[in-house]
Symmetry: C2
Subunit: 256 residues, 2 copies
């Protein structure tokens, strides 16, 4: 059972204000919760169906958090998902990880949609990027829609929020900074010698693109060539295509 | 103003049953409606804000459909979008276009999520694919979420619903049929001579993949190589990456 006070607490975490006050956030649904419980994160409490508790007993016994059995109806009521028949975890908000200036970074200028941010975390994870760096005012990592769309990748890819100008000022000026523009060079013409062990892929807001004040930081403007008539691609889709081209070229060099 | 009867009619089009009975569907929001009005589709009626009507007077004067001025509140009430301050069109459901057996086809086996289907229409349009062919039981084209996610691409890319076995039986056996599998050959190792002027890219349901009974139709099993730890990619994202690789290689051949 979920008590009235527990429900009130869980529902307060649907909102940014509650997450900031409590320094905690929700992870929802069987797949994400199981990935969480296998990772080294601070779980505060777990609410789960009897079936979930039975299925994962050994895993739950390793934890030091309270486990509250709950019905599907109660879990759904406490959840942001339209249906949650399995589990819901309350997790302590992570401390910021150290910002890295080597390896590959996905930098996001004003991506406000939490679904897009979660999708981009998943893509960064698939393509082995080291971190995400987001401008202030982006969707926050602990938004339930970010967590849900990331499909567990929030556990692996550190997300930093800082002014992108500050991040760029710490980079070696030799590092390639690829920026996605509507009028850049075709990403299909990029060559492996333009890339390296470290680099940045910068994506801008879908409506406005990369802010003019950041454009001077970009030393390689790239575009996804179109073969048809659609006007644009979703920023998550565009990010995936650019990451795929970058890693395809880098892999080619490293196997030579 | 939107009358009670009009509102009832518009809201009936939120549901599949209503769309089938009325043989009509909704196009919502300024951008999609304006693209629609520029295209050669049968518009039944248009509901729009005074500002929209003022902005597009010449365009509206070319049409033979009634235009009903409506407040933002009334438009939002009639719409499936969480906010609609601009316009809402009722459109006659399109007749099925002729199924093509040449050019490139994106074939979808059991893609149920309307957002994914709309995204894939947009991607097929960006990459110049000729048509989409979906197995029965997929999300339908006239679902408002498909229309909205396609960002106008529903106007350009014909979508056919038919058993994929029937579609494949009509194809020349020489035509490459690429199927997305978790354990295929890396799409980065694909070469231009494996492609041609006609071909099929087949994507399966995100959870189940391509059904076993269709797998014999695939003559080239492809996989998106992973460079990190995410377990999978969203089917829309995966489709975009595969289309990008196909068209990159085909463009290289044609410019030689």
């Amino acid at each position: 059972m979920i008590s009235k006070n527990q429900l009130k607490f869980l529902r307060s975490l649907h909102q940014k204000k509650g997450r900031l006050e409590q320094q905690a956030f929700l992870v929802e649904g069987e797949k994400s919760v199981v990935e969480l419980l296998h990772a080294d994160w601070k779980v505060i409490s777990l609410y789960a169906s009897d079936a979930f508790i039975a299925r994962y007993t050994p895993l739950l016994q390793q934890g030091d958090y309270p486990v509250y059995p709950a019905s599907a109806a109660a879990l759904t009521q406490a959840s942001t998902l339209s249906n949650n028949h399995t589990a819901l975890a309350v997790v302590a908000s992570p401390r910021p990880a150290a910002l890295q200036t080597s390896g590959w970074t996905l930098a996001l200028d004003q991506i406000n949609d939490p679904g897009n941010l979660g999708t981009l975390l998943r893509i960064a994870d698939w393509y082995g990027f080291r971190q995400l760096v987001c401008s202030p005012g982006s969707a926050e990592l602990t938004n339930p829609k970010v967590i849900s769309a990331s499909k567990g990748s929030f556990l692996r890819i550190p997300l930093h929020v800082c002014p992108l100008e500050d991040f760029f000022s710490q980079l070696d000026p030799q590092v390639p900074v690829l920026g996605a523009f509507l009028e850049g060079d075709s990403i299909h013409q990029l060559t492996a010698d333009q890339l390296g062990d470290s680099g940045v892929l910068l994506l801008g807001n879908e409506a406005q693109g990369i802010r003019p004040e950041l454009q001077a930081q970009v030393n390689c403007r790239v575009t996804i060539p179109s073969f048809g008539q659609a006007e644009s691609l979703n920023v998550g889709v565009a990010g995936a295509i650019l990451c795929d081209n970058i890693q395809r070229l880098r892999a080619r060099t490293s196997t030579r």
